[in-house]
Amino acid sequence: MKENQIQIYLRKLKSQLWLRGIADRDDLAEIESHLMEAVERGLGQGLNLEEAESRALERFGSVKVVVSTFEKERKDVMQNILLAVAVLAGLFSAYVDASPNWDDTGILAGGLLLVSGLLTLLGHRKPWLIALAVGIWIPLHDIYLSHDFSLLLVLLFPLVGAYGGWLARMGIRKTLHPA
């Protein structure tokens, strides 16, 4: 069955909001309800279905404009949540690294890389900040204890992960919306 203009619009909007980690089922239901009401009003004013849908979408604003407004309104909250998760994950990794029975550096490095990648993939816009928030705690602990700065190299893992996740998100966005 062929999608109508409203369904196409909602699908695009949903994917764009999802990519930015700000999709919410209630928000989308509310927008769908709004558009359906606008179409009904248009039909009531004598427009045909296609005209009513076009006018409803025109008045609602393009996907780009609406997504950008959602992003501006919510970015601080979402960005702060992701940053807080990064800090907690980093502190946890430092705690694990400092425990006497832990000696698997490979798993820890892989964990730092994966967590950083996931957080930027989910929508954090500053890969360097995520990398720092996740990876700084292990070197800081060692610098504090032994003044050993060599472990700053550990930051390479979250940096690679964070920029990898960020690039993947850009790639997904470009694939879904080439324009």
Binding site: H34, A38, G61, K72, R74, V77
Partner: protein, 105 residues
Amino acid sequence: MIGEALKGHLDLLLLAILADEPAHGYAVIESLRMKSQGTFDLPEGTIYPALHRLESQGLLHSSWSEDSARRKRIYRLTPKGQQTLAKRQEEWKNFSNAINATVGI
């Protein structure tokens, strides 16, 4: 130009409209357009994020209504929203008086 100027005052306008009575987004937008006689004609989709932000700040409360054929999310002012509205109205009154006095209206 009007759109840009409006952005800084959108919260006040939305709170003032919802002070009259609880309403869903579509009705809020209609009311904004009608009361301003078409001057405040923003893309409708840009109003929802502002309503959601006001709700997250505790100034509005929303609930879903099943009364009509379609589910609607109804927004209403909270007590904190009423206090904020009164404060913003006072600020706006002082501000607009000062502007009017300066430009000679």
